[in-house]
Symmetry: C2
Subunit: 446 residues, 2 copies
């Protein structure tokens, strides 16, 4: 098992009898998911994806990544939501939040088309100046406002910079296999295209071409990523609560929720995990936050945020629990050297590694928080490899699907995301939305 769960720091909050009581619900959800009889079963393509994917396309992704690495200084990924968070999270997890600033032999990678900030898009144009650029437009339809605006601007930039013919070789589209305006445009222009499968929703799509191309461009081994996910697919495919770490996590978080712990704080002790927390927040927030239900997903990086949100977690409203993701092996370690003057009083740590001190910070914190009334679920992962990342991604995707089922929601839809869009289109005067405009404007004036 690549990921180990430690429920020790829950023991004073959740009794063994409670796990026994919830186990049948998990078994039922497991069977519904694997038999394809669950709610939302048109979006469960992610379940077998780690073994059942298009190998020809996978090879094309690797070839495209090699070409991009050879002819590109700045790779711009255009996408929002699930077409943005997963690949950025993976690249920062495997490399660093400072990926673009550090010396490397792979392209800088910037993400855009994920907001309507003109300032943010202008900066992307500055970052492209005088450098060789390729772009990856990721959109099922091609008409989502944020990425469509960015793609208009960047496609024009490439055509002006390289001419239409060369620009075509620098534009990669990840989109629907057959329908949609982006697919039509790509076919007409001859852009290389990759597929967003019909049965995989955005927040579950990081192991499709959506995530794989940008991740491969960063130099990561996407074969290892898929093989880690395949290992999880195999190991987590049994409904036995005693042996399935993923389902233990599902049990713990649902039991805590049912007794009023309705905020889940995802905790890491490594800054490179920051965007993984954001990916997790979309996965769980969008899957569970519906019908006036759902755990509110939040995140912190410790020890940084022990000096920020730490006070609240220790002693604020007692409505939260923590899920801590730990890694047995640091990417790089440093050792505390002795200082003859010992100005800072740190000589008692002489010879100790920072990874060891970080581990003691976790141990001190988990006990302090338990004393303060905050239970912790602790996930131990071995390292920061592609294989571990693939395992973790599948682990959380499956936990989310089973959790949503326990909560009684469809974990694969997101009807609430349409509400703001409809209003925005009406206010912008988009054809087809005329009838709503007046009423909305009147409400804004009151």
């Amino acid at each position: 098992m690549s990921v180990r769960l430690d429920l020790k720091h829950l023991s004073s909050f959740v009794g063994k009898n409670e796990y026994t009581a919830i186990a049948p619900q998990i078994r039922q959800a497991h069977e519904a998911l694997h038999s394809g009889n669950c709610v939302g079963n048109d979006f469960i393509g992610w379940v077998n994806l780690p073994t059942d994917y298009d190998k020809e396309e996978f090879s094309r992704i690797k070839a495209a990544a090699e070409k991009i690495k050879s002819d590109t200084d700045v790779f711009i990924v255009i996408g929002i939501g699930g077409s943005y968070l997963g690949s950025r999270a993976a690249i920062e997890f495997l490399n660093s939040q400072n990926y673009n600033s550090l010396k490397k032999n792979t392209p800088d990678i910037y993400f855009t088309g994920n907001s309507i900030s003109s300032t943010a898009l202008s900066e992307i144009l500055q970052l492209c100046e005088g450098r060789d650029v390729s772009i990856n437009m990721i959109s099922k339809s091609g008409t989502t406002t944020e990425p469509a605006i960015a793609f208009r601007v960047l496609r024009k930039l490439l055509e002006e910079k390289y001419g239409k013919v060369e620009a075509r070789k620098r534009i990669y589209c990840t989109t629907d296999k057959a329908r949609g305006t982006l697919k039509q445009l790509a076919t007409k222009e001859g852009y290389e295209t990759f597929v967003i499968p019909d049965d995989v929703g955005g927040r579950y799509s990081v192991l499709t071409a959506v995530g794989l191309l940008p991740i491969a461009v960063s130099g990561a081994d996407i074969d290892a990523l898929m093989s880690g996910a395949a290992k999880a697919q195999k190991e987590l495919n049994n409904s036995d609560l005693d042996s399935n770490a993923c389902y233990q996590y599902v049990a713990a978080r649902n039991l805590l929720y049912r007794k009023g712990k309705d905020i889940e704080v995802l905790v890491s002790y490594e800054p490179c995990y920051t965007m993984m927390c954001e990916w997790w927040k979309q996965l769980f927030g969008e899957s569970e936050g519906k019908d006036n239900k759902g755990l509110f997903p939040a995140s912190v990086v410790f020890s940084t945020d022990l000096h920020s949100m730490g006070q609240y977690i220790q002693d604020g409203r007692r409505s939260l629990f923590e899920t801590v993701v730990l890694f047995d092996k640091a990417k790089t370690d440093l050792f505390i050297e002795t200082d003859p003057e010992n100005v800072d009083g740190l000589n008692f740590l002489q010879g100790k590694s920072m990874a060891y001190i970080n581990e003691k910070a976790f141990e001190g914190t988990v006990l302090a928080h338990a004393d303060g009334g905050v239970p912790s679920v602790v996930l131990h992962a071995p390292d920061f490899s592609e294989e571990t990342l693939g395992y973790l991604i599948y682990f959380f995707e499956k936990a989310c699907a089973i959790s949503g089922s326990l909560l009684g929601v469809n974990p694969f839809n997101q009807p609430g995301v349409e509400s703001y869009k409809k209003n925005m289109f009406a206010l912008l005067g988009k054809p087809g939305y005329e009838s709503e405009k007046g009423a909305l404007e009147a409400r804004l004036k009151n």
Copy 2:
């Protein structure tokens, strides 16, 4: 008034009678704060700080920033919590999250000593390779674990790179005016020092030398920053709820909290505001999260997170409200050009600016969320100038102090932050903590 509050989108959630009822409590808190009779009154130096600060030191900060700009490629700021979040937030607000990657004539600025990640600290060492470096060590005592470890490593780096004499000219210490080991070391070595005032807590310290030196190094006009704060100090110094936007915000959030809206989500539509949200989370979380009370502070950047946390906000548990910070004038604007093919269907936006579209996204969202049962407080600020930033900082600091008073807590202490530290020191075998070690280790084994 530099900041305008719009409570329209609260009107169906909070009645006028409720504001009337809470006004006397706000008046009382205002008077207690300004007469110096409030709880925690040994930490209210921030109240008059924008006008009552050390002008000689302020000049030295500007001179130091000029020297650093002239002889430094990479400026490393070492600090945690309040010695980290404020200056980073200000630099990203005034410039960009991509500050280090964008072309500029000021040094790169990296923050470290804010975690125990060996990977993160190793990256800082890589980023310093072959470049001219200066460092700013920020710590009241000099013994806080995270910054102390980083300072050991970086001080050694500078001494090896430049020799002891030149290194002394590249190390700046922001610390206690008289006591503590860092002050002693700085005096002995002749490092230039700046003062963390005794009566200003970490999370209220961004307008002291703690924030001002790094902010000035980024090229910002710190005179304008202080003058914006001074304007807020003057305008917000009256207890009349009808005219004081800061106190209207206090009233709204406390009324919402008392009726069960116990998660406050700070919302921006500009990515450069992301770290300001983190600064705000420390300010409010650490001030209010105590005695089992307090609003849980969370944050999002829209429209990015409308495709992530948006579903939860629209339709999840109805325990939250939003505080939206809007800016009337974008830093840079872009206009939608026409496309003869109109592949993406965006031609109906032809000639419109992205800032306009972003505004309509806000309007569409605020109405959709109200319809979903989520009230919004909306703050309008004029622009992204230093003056506006100073105003906003003071606005939130004062709102936090008065809010904490209404909640019935001491908004200026953080007793819960010590809990993890005590355990960590015991587990690490720090002299003086021996007696706890065995018991803690036993709990970890069970």
